[in-house]
């Protein structure tokens, strides 16, 4: 399903800035199985994809449960149905590469390398969470793994990611920035302003439109005059392409190629992944507006189930091996919940700890009942 638009480009390398030309070791090719459709990933890599996708699935199920039990508050948006996209994208990044996402970021946090317990603890609002309980589901941040934020304001992450790429360019580093956003988010001004800037200044940022075919309840066709979203890159003379977001290896191939090209040349690109949302916009959304066809299509395309079947068909995994991975994922998700539940709530005395990075005279530290004088 890979389609490309605009300016053609070499698979890697290219003129312009001197950057280290990253290479990706493709490992041993999969040899076994009559239905082998894999093209370069080692069996270990494929099994690891499955492990990560399954972990995200189990984690999100536990998150939904925690929400129902009122352990988690606020809004809670899940990656159910987007596991292949998440893992394919994150496997294309180095740990030192930067990631900016929207509020639907639990899976990205896990796949970028944050321990599940710390991700769950953020949902639980505990001090051991990725943002010390200050951010919640929508606002995870972790310097070590390069997650430079999940952002709750639609489009907020896009200029920021562009700015991070500017900093890389400025300092001459070899990192790449990936900026994840949703299909609905391609209609906000910040998207267009940022793509123009990134193309104009040749900044190493890959914009990834995770097209799950819905905003909250609005379809892509109802919100985007050009519904083939990757084509929006054309207006900025940027490379754009579309890939099947249910296929982890296809996502990874496309993302790796674009990331390494950006690493080598600084050139930005737009990648659109097409998949489905298995559940509501957030945990509380019953999706009443959704057609039965759309729900059926999402179920039929379930990326975790289909990948499992592919792995078994091709002999990369057997039933026992798959079941073992699933058992382990469940145990990891359960352990994350236990860790979160055992972690302390932030103390009220810390309420004024993060208003300013540079301490300042006359900073207000008043609680609601305190008089001014």
């Amino acid at each position: 399903m890979a389609e490309t638009a605009t300016r053609s480009k070499p698979a890697s390398g290219g003129a312009g800035k001197t950057r280290r030309n990253g290479t990706r070791s493709s490992g041993k090719r999969v040899q076994t199985g009559a239905n082998n459709v894999f093209s370069g990933e080692s069996p270990d890599t494929l099994r690891d994809y499955f492990r990560q996708m399954t972990l995200i699935r189990r984690f999100e199920e536990r998150a939904a449960q925690g929400y129902t039990q009122a352990k988690i508050g606020g809004y809670c948006h899940l990656n159910l149905g987007e596991e292949a996209t998440v893992v394919g994208l994150m496997s294309a990044l180095r740990r030192s590469d930067y990631l900016f996402t929207n509020y639907r970021e639990h899976g990205y946090a896990l796949a970028k390398g944050i321990e599940p317990g710390r991700v769950m603890a953020e949902l639980y609002g505990r001090t051991s969470g990725t943002s010390k309980g200050w951010g919640g589901s929508m606002h995870m941040f972790d310097v070590d793994s390069g997650l430079l934020g999940g952002y709750g304001i639609v489009g907020g992450q896009i200029p920021l990611a562009t700015g991070a790429a500017l900093a890389i360019d400025y300092r001459g580093g070899d990192q790449v920035v990936m900026c994840q956003l949703g299909d609905g988010t391609t209609n906000i001004g910040a998207f267009h302003e940022s793509l123009n800037i990134a193309a104009l200044w040749n900044l190493p940022v890959i914009f990834v439109v995770v097209n799950n075919q819905l905003g909250m309840g609005t379809t892509v066709e109802k919100s985007s005059a050009e519904s083939e979203l990757y084509k929006r890159a054309v207006a900025y003379r940027m490379h754009g392409e579309r890939v099947d977001g249910n296929d982890v290896t296809a996502v990874n191939e496309a993302a790796s190629r674009l990331v390494e090209h950006a690493r080598a040349t600084g050139e930005p690109a737009l990648l659109e992944t097409v998949s489905h949302r298995l559940k509501g916009h957030s945990v509380v959304d019953p999706s009443k507006y959704r057609s039965q066809e759309s729900v059926d299509a999402a179920r039929a395309a379930d990326p975790v189930a289909t990948f499992r079947a592919r792995l078994i068909d091709s002999g990369v995994l057997d039933e026992d091996g798959a079941a073992e991975i699933e058992r382990q994922a469940q145990a990891d998700a359960d352990a994350a919940v236990a860790f979160a539940d055992d972690s302390p709530h932030p103390d009220v005395s810390t309420l004024f700890d993060y208003t300013y990075a540079t301490p300042v005279a006359n900073d207000s530290r008043r609680l609601p009942a305190d008089p001014v004088f």
């Binding site: 508050g73 606020g74 809004y75 609002g125 505990r126 943002s131 309980g133 200050w134 951010g135 919640g136 929508m138 606002h139 952002y151 709750g152 304001i153 639609v154 489009g155 907020g156 609905g184 988010t185 209609n187 906000i188 001004g189 905003g215 909250m216 309840g217 609005t218 109802k222 919100s223 985007s224 009443k288 507006y289 709530h345 932030p346 103390d347 009220v348 810390t350 309420l351 004024f352 993060y354 208003t355 207000s364 530290r365 008043r366 609680l367 609601p368 009942a369 008089p371 001014v372 004088f373």
Partner: protein
């Protein structure tokens, strides 16, 4: 009299105004097929069709600006900004355009539009989704800002806002949508720019708007029941224009005041109210005007921190007690 929710009052009023005037239409994100993020517009797409219930792309600047442009042509768009936090993306169209067009062009063209939007914290939505930034709009000449606290006022003020020939920011609050109140069979449009003494009393004036006006009522009722304190509540209802006369008159009677606001204290709505009291009732004051407002931090997600940061019935009660002690009216 029917008892209905604040949500229902808004819904019914939108529907009635649409039935009464072809020029009234709704525009906003997820208001049609999704029936509104907070379900205010449920059923209206089915009844009125896509022409009059317009789902927009996620493009606040674009659709608010389009509403301004349509209003310049005499249509009466009622835009829904999903929450006031997202209005910031449309700030330029609201402040530099909607608010300026009538004056800047010498009164040749008015902008009869309404922007409905909820503010409010307390739902663990984190720093960007919990703000009370109505002040940004209340600061701007050319805009009108109303903030009803009851279902009946929601109805009366929404009717008035839609009939008004100026851009009106209509402030709702997430915590109010499910609250109930009596609404008469027919509700006349309210007069924008008028506060209400919504609970008469003699010992102290509590001034609030939107959610904090309802909290003020709870506190006043409890003070009366448990301590025999007679608190007067002034519900501002309109933030711009501000009805200084009504609040000053109340303070001249009670001689002391506590302001209850959900926004931040420094430069907040309460600062203007306190200044107005100083202007108009200085000689009547027996104690400093006290403000109960949110702690000045980006609001944390974690429940204990969020709870500590936001004003509540408890913090308001403390402020009322301390103020009464200061004037010697409480042992």
């Amino acid at each position: 009299m029917a008892v209905i929710t604040y949500r229902q009052a808004l819904h019914d009023t939108l529907r009635e105004e649409m039935l009464a005037d072809e020029d009234v239409f709704l525009i906003g994100e997820e208001i049609g097929v999704f029936e509104g993020s907070y379900k205010i517009t449920a059923g209206l797409l089915d009844e009125f069709g896509e022409k009059r219930v317009r789902d927009t792309p996620i493009a606040e600047e674009g659709f608010i600006g389009a509403a301004v442009g349509a209003a310049m042509q005499g249509l009466r768009p009622v835009a829904e900004l999903m929450t006031i936090n997202f209005s910031l993306i449309a700030l330029d169209q609201i402040v530099n355009h909607a608010a300026k067009i009538y004056g800047m062009f010498g009164g040749q063209c008015s902008v009869p539009m309404v922007m409905r939007t909820p503010g409010g914290g307390g739902q663990q939505l984190g720093a960007t989704h919990s703000q009370n930034i109505e002040l940004y709009y209340a600061f701007v000449p050319g805009l009108k800002v109303v903030a009803p606290s009851t279902p009946a006022d929601a109805k009366a003020l929404l009717r008035a806002s839609i009939a008004d020939n100026d851009p009106v920011l209509f402030l709702e609050n997430l915590a109010l949508y499910n609250t109930k109140g009596e609404v008469p069979e027919t509700v006349e449009p309210a007069e924008i720019g008028k506060a209400a003494v919504s609970r008469p009393g003699n010992d102290i004036t509590i001034i609030g708007y939107s959610r904090m006006a309802t909290v003020a009522h709870q506190v006043a009722d409890k003070l009366e029941d448990e301590e025999g304190i007679s608190a007067e509540v002034v519900d501002l209802r309109s933030l711009r224009p501000l009805d200084r006369e009504t609040l000053v008159e109340s303070v001249r009677k009670t001689n002391c005041a506590v302001i209850a606001e959900d926004d931040w204290l420094t430069y907040g709505i309460g600062a203007e109210i306190a200044a107005s009291i100083s202007d108009g009732a200085f000689d009547s004051l027996d104690a400093p005007v006290r403000r109960v407002a949110a702690a000045e931090v980006p609001l944390p997600y974690a429940k204990p921190l969020e709870r500590a940061a936001l004003p509540s019935a408890e913090s308001l009660t403390t402020a009322v007690h301390e103020t009464l002690e200061a004037v010697g009216r409480r042992r």
